[in-house]
């Protein structure tokens, strides 16, 4: 058995983990990737590489992840079910493992109607739960979906998405349970602005015992301006922003600083919630602010762990 | 033949309906929840039965009920909904404290022996909505009783005295003579609050702010539609008005008849009504049913005919028929028309995707253009424009190049016919329809307007001006207006040509 991922070791040794997102370029510009990876070096335990997020064409997440890892930053490569059937998905998982990628986040994927190519035909041969199950089967049972044996299995730490604010809560908790049963080892949640709501959800999660079976990383979008907050509130599904927060940003003299303060307050609050194993930062194409967030949140330096 | 009438409801309204039905020699089948006040061998009461659905037409409705013994089916000649209304306390009752009672509860207090007599009683009417004459009638008489029995100060606050029944007006005069003080308060000025064992009623009487310390406040109840009203309208296939009571807001359904022949609504279920109104409704309805049943004749001279070879049973006509006149045949793979229910509006024919429904005189030409110069084609609804034309013999006054066609309802106009009119050379088509909410066939004119909007869109795509088709609202009694509208549509064509 080969080594665990760095992220998995951080979590298993009980450290509070920090992951953050990197959006691949909408071009073949490798320097840009290296620059972004540079921001993260030493500040995060792993960097998530999004997979054609919002159904907009970008550099492939596996390729980007491989370049980021060359810069010394471990990655979580994201994989959606939208664009590939079971053949391509399994093939890419093998390829990613071959390139040394060790963490995989399995997603359904944003519907193509939200992107630049709404005319595209979607695939959804598998759903995200079936993808998780597939990866686990490939790794633990050394089998493809079709049952054929894999000689050298891919070693990946399997992640999934959780939706603390999606209603009805029970339905989404069932879904989360199914993801865990299928093989999800860690969860990264949708962005949290409503800490109290998130706390309630975590209470329900603890009630199900999920926090013991998996690691939950709370999703955080660093707040920049009141305007961006409002746009998010109005347009992004599953994001709930308390009106007080918007008011607070509106009345701030220095919006950038106020946004940072709120972000830090949210991080501080979610850290205190029982069962939260880390945070997942989604700076939405402002990767450069990640080090400051991590530093001011008291999460720097990152722990050095012995990888088994 | 002995006719049996289904009466839905077991309150006073239903009892009046049952008495009226029996009085004209018919039998009544009454369904409701709880006791029913009439014991008469011509009245059968079924406690706990609820209506599931009805089929059939006047003279032979099949009514299916849910009962404790399972489903029951009964044949009835006609149906009367007399479910009454709910009396709910007005919203101020919540804040008024324990000294407040509603009109409904006062009689019990008046009869109670050991009650500390109040010094000042305030009656309040119109707190939530402007109450009707039936509320005035109850309230004024209660105020008189309080004044007589308790001898205390009685104030009667209201926005309006609804004295259009002479008995109410009379009671109002007597009450004033007996010392009841009537005060009118202005809208939104009223407040009722408990205060140290009393209740403070404050308001503006158009001259100043006034406050009365009352020992008791009596407030009118508000009449609301019963909870079952909406589902019952669907089961009976009849209308509901914007306040949630039975019956359409439509001048063509002014009394107790509904859009479905043989189904009637009486009393408070069609809006606030006093007992006088209900007894009138009941007697009227029983007579109407009896007369119709004695000599059952179709309503319309021409009714819809279904070509059973073309019918694809898509149910579109069933969904559109405003009179419950179509049903799926038990014997044939086709829709069938109830001949006694059909009112000949032709709406079904206009929406049938298979062109399987025909009305013999649909689109009857009133005046054919003979000069060869086709300019304006006017479709006239029989219930409005056609009547206006007849009233002043208008046809002779119209300019050359105008062709008139009569429709039983504007809802019976088919888009393809209008396309053919334009093809035939008409430069403009004018549809003269009834005002919204004034369609004899409930939604026929609204159905037509939607279809015309879609047609205008299609024609616009082909580069044909939207105003090639013009829809205007007219009313039968306004002949001059109709003539004016035809002329203006006609003259506008000339202008465009000149431009």
């Amino acid at each position: 058995m080969t080594a665990l991922s760095h992220l998995q070791s951080v979590l298993e040794q009980g450290h509070f983990a920090v992951t953050a997102e990197i959006g691949p370029p909408m071009s073949a510009n490798v320097n840009l990737i290296r620059q972004k990876a540079g921001y993260y070096n030493g500040y995060v335990d792993a960097a998530n590489i999004t997979d054609n997020q919002s159904a907009v064409v970008c550099m492939s997440s596996i390729a980007t992840a491989a370049i980021v890892q060359q810069e010394g930053v471990e990655t979580v490569f994201q994989m959606t079910c939208r664009d590939r059937n079971r053949i391509a998905l399994q093939s890419d998982i093998l390829g990613a493992a071959g390139l040394g990628l060790k963490n995989l986040l399995c997603l359904s994927g944003d519907h193509q109607s939200f992107g630049n190519d709404p005319q595209a035909k979607n695939v959804y041969d598998l759903d995200s739960i079936q993808l998780i199950h597939t990866v686990k089967g490939m790794r633990d049972d050394k089998r493809f979906i079709n049952g054929k044996e894999i000689k050298t299995e891919p070693q990946v730490f399997i992640g999934a998405a959780a939706h603390p604010f999606a209603q009805p809560t029970e339905l989404y908790l069932i879904s989360m349970g199914k993801k865990i049963a299928a093989g999800a080892q860690f969860f990264q949640t949708q962005a949290i602005f409503d800490v109290e709501g998130f706390g309630n959800w975590m209470k329900a999660v603890r009630g199900m015992g999920y926090h013991k079976q998996t690691y939950i990383l709370a999703g955080i979008i660093p707040i920049k301006t009141a305007r961006s907050l409002k746009i998010m509130n109005d347009t992004v599904a599953g994001i709930r922003i308390p009106p007080d927060l918007i008011k607070r940003m509106d009345s701030a003299d220095n919006q950038e600083e106020e946004g940072m303060r709120i972000t830090l307050e949210i991080i501080e609050a979610v850290r205190k919630i029982d069962g939260v194993a880390g945070i997942h930062l989604m700076p939405v194409s402002s990767e450069q602010i990640t080090p400051a967030v991590v530093e001011r949140a008291g999460l720097y330096p990152r722990p050095q762990v012995e990888v088994q | 033949m002995q006719h049996r009438i289904l009466i839905i409801g077991n309150g006073d309204d239903a009892a009046m309906a049952a008495r009226a039905v029996v009085a004209v020699g018919m039998e009544a089948l009454v369904i409701g929840e709880g006791a029913f006040p009439i014991a008469d061998d011509r009245v059968t009461y079924k406690d706990g039965w609820t209506l599931k659905h009805i089929e059939g037409q006047i003279g032979a409705f099949e009514a299916v009920f849910d009962t404790s013994d399972g489903e029951q089916t009964e044949t009835v000649s006609s149906i009367i909904a007399a479910t009454g209304a709910d009396m709910v306390p007005c919203s101020l009752m919540n804040s008024a404290g324990d000294k407040a009672v509603s009109f409904k509860d006062l009689p019990a207090l008046l009869n109670a022996k050991e009650y500390t007599l109040p010094m000042a009683v305030v009656f309040i009417q119109d707190a939530d909505v402007d109450d009707g004459q039936w509320v005035s009638a109850i309230g004024i008489n209660l105020a008189r009783q309080v004044r007589k029995m308790w001898g205390c100060d009685v104030y009667y606050l209201c926005r309006f005295i609804r004295g259009s029944h002479f008995e109410v007006e009379n009671a109002y005069r007597m009450a004033r003579a007996e010392g009841v003080v009537f005060i009118k308060y202005s809208k939104d000025s009223l407040a009722v609050m408990p205060a140290e064992g009393k209740t403070t009623v404050s308001f503006n009487d158009y001259t100043q702010e006034i406050s009365i310390q009352a020992d008791m406040v009596v407030m009118s109840d508000v009449l609301k539609p019963q909870t079952q009203t909406s589902s019952l309208t669907q089961k009976l296939g009849i209308g509901i008005n914007h306040e949630g009571f039975f019956q359409y807001d439509n001048a063509y359904y002014p009394f107790t008849a509904t859009n479905r022949r043989g189904v009637y609504v009486i009393g408070a279920c069609k809006g606030p009504a006093g007992l006088n109104d209900v007894s009138g409704d009941a007697a009227y309805t029983a007579l109407d049913i009896k007369i119709q049943l004695d000599e059952l004749r179709p309503i319309a001279d021409v009714i819809a005919e279904i070509n059973l070879f073309k019918c694809s049973l898509c149910l579109t006509c069933l969904r559109f028929c405003p009179h419950g006149a179509l049903h799926v045949s038990d014997d044939m793979p086709s829709m069938v028309v109830y001949d006694m229910a059909c009112q000949g509006c032709g709406i079904c024919g206009a929406v049938c995707p298979a062109e399987a429904i025909n009305l013999a005189d649909n689109g009857k030409a009133l005046m054919k253009e003979s000069s060869g110069q086709k300019r304006l084609k006017v479709y006239c609804c029989k219930n409005s424009a056609k009547k206006a034309l007849d009233a002043i013999n208008m046809v002779a006054q119209l300019p050359q190049g105008v062709e008139l066609a009569e429709m039983p309802c504007s809802g019976s106009i088919k888009p393809e016919e209008l396309v053919n009119d334009i093809y035939a050379g008409f430069q403009r088509i004018l549809i003269l329809a009834c005002y919204s909410d004034a369609c004899r066939h409930v939604n026929g004119n609204a159905d037509m307007r939607r279809q015309m909007k879609a047609l205008q869109d299609t024609l616009a795509d082909m580069g044909i001006a939207r105003d090639s088709i013009v829809v205007m609202d007219v009313a039968g009694p306004s002949s001059d207006d109709v003539l004016e509208k035809i002329n203006s549509a006609y003259n506008a064509i000339g202008l465009e040509v000149a431009l």
Partner: protein, 356 residues
């Protein structure tokens, strides 16, 4: 003559060819019962035929379209014999066999033999001369409801204004000759509120710049919840003044001044208007005493007709506003009910005699 023979060969006499009489006639004729309508005017239709549709951009439910069906059905109906310009002279006999003498328009007399009689003589509008201080007949812009009806009936708004464009402010005075003990009319005329509010909306529809004020004591039911109605009207700029004006005078500039009490100021004020419409009340018909005498009828407390004995025993029925204030829809319902009672009675008799 009806073919039933024997008992019910005789038809029904209807005294008064207004909306009530004609509605009853229409209903009876549909059941093939012969009807005679006697009307003292030159034409049938009474007052309702002079009213116009009040629709704005929507139907205001004035029910005028319902009356139109009736006029159409009654004219040229082979079961209905219309005598206009005619007077009833005398009535003798009993239920089932009344002989009524009628003087026709040409002066000749005709006796008809009927089973039933419906008295539907309608009402007369309150005589505004009794309220000379409102200036009706004196100032040209003081009108009554019927005057405005006439203007409206002939409207062609695009070409001919039915209200003079100089009119900017208009007042409706409610309860003129109604709910007035001194004037021997303690009763509410029932129709004027709904009527005036509809008319106001119609005027507002065509002339949105005219400011409309109602002087009222109580607004009676108008169909539906009045609060909704009221809010909409106030939203459209209508004003409601709780006051019964004492006088209308001509101002120096030729306008009108309505003198009324301003409750809030506790004083009498003079307010200027360009036009005043008086909602005159409903009074018993002018020939009510004569008709009561001919058909042996009584009066109610307000001087309207009242039957003596049970209708089904005397065979003499009353319908519509002869009985008291009623709106058009109620008059029609009442007339239909009377007609239906007669039809039922008629059939019962026919069955009893073995004809049916």
């Amino acid at each position: 003559m009806n073919s039933l023979g024997g008992v019910c060969v005789r038809g029904v006499l209807i005294v008064g060819g207004g909306i009530s009489g004609c509605t009853a006639a229409d209903m009876l004729a549909q059941s093939h019962i012969p009807v005679y309508i006697v009307d003292k005017s030159k034409n049938i239709g009474g007052k309702a035929i002079n009213y116009g549709c009040k629709a704005t951009d929507t139907c205001l439910k004035c029910n005028m379209c319902l009356t139109q069906d009736i006029w159409q059905n009654v004219n040229d109906n082979r079961y209905i014999d219309i005598m206009t310009g005619a007077d009833v002279l005398s009535c003798q006999g009993d239920k089932g066999d009344y002989r009524v003498m009628i003087r026709l328009e040409d002066g000749l007399e005709r006796e008809i033999n009927v089973s039933y009689i419906i008295v539907a003589i309608g009402f007369q509008p309150y005589d505004l001369k009794n309220k000379g201080f409102f200036g009706y007949g004196l100032y040209k812009n003081v009108l009554d409801g019927l005057d405005v009806e006439q203007l409206l009936k002939q409207r062609t708004p695009e070409t001919l204004p039915f209200i003079n464009p100089s009119i900017k402010k208009l007042a409706f005075l409610q309860c003129v000759g109604s709910r007035d003990v001194q004037d021997k009319a303690p009763y509410c005329s029932k129709v004027c509120c709904a009527y005036a509010l509809r008319m106001g909306q119609t005027i507002h529809h065509y002339y949105p710049n005219i400011e409309i004020t109602y002087f009222y004591m109580d607004i009676q039911e108008v169909g539906g919840v009045f609060s909704d109605y009221y809010d909409r009207l106030v939203g459209n700029g209508f004003k409601f003044v709780l006051s019964r004006p004492v006088m209308v005078e001509e101002a120096e500039d030729g306008g009108l001044e309505v003198i009324h009490e301003d409750l809030a100021k506790a004083s009498v004020v003079r307010e200027k208007f360009d036009m005043v419409i008086l909602s005159q009340g409903i009074r018993p018909a002018d020939d009510v005493d004569y008709i009561a005498d001919v058909f042996d009828l009584g009066y109610d407390a307000n001087g309207f007709l009242k039957g003596i004995g049970r209708w089904s025993e005397t065979g003499i029925y009353l319908a519509g506003t002869a009985k008291g204030p009623m709106n058009i829809a109620d008059s029609m319902a009442d007339a239909r009910r009377v007609a239906m009672e007669i039809i039922t009675d008629y059939r019962t008799a026919a069955i009893a005699s073995g004809v049916m």
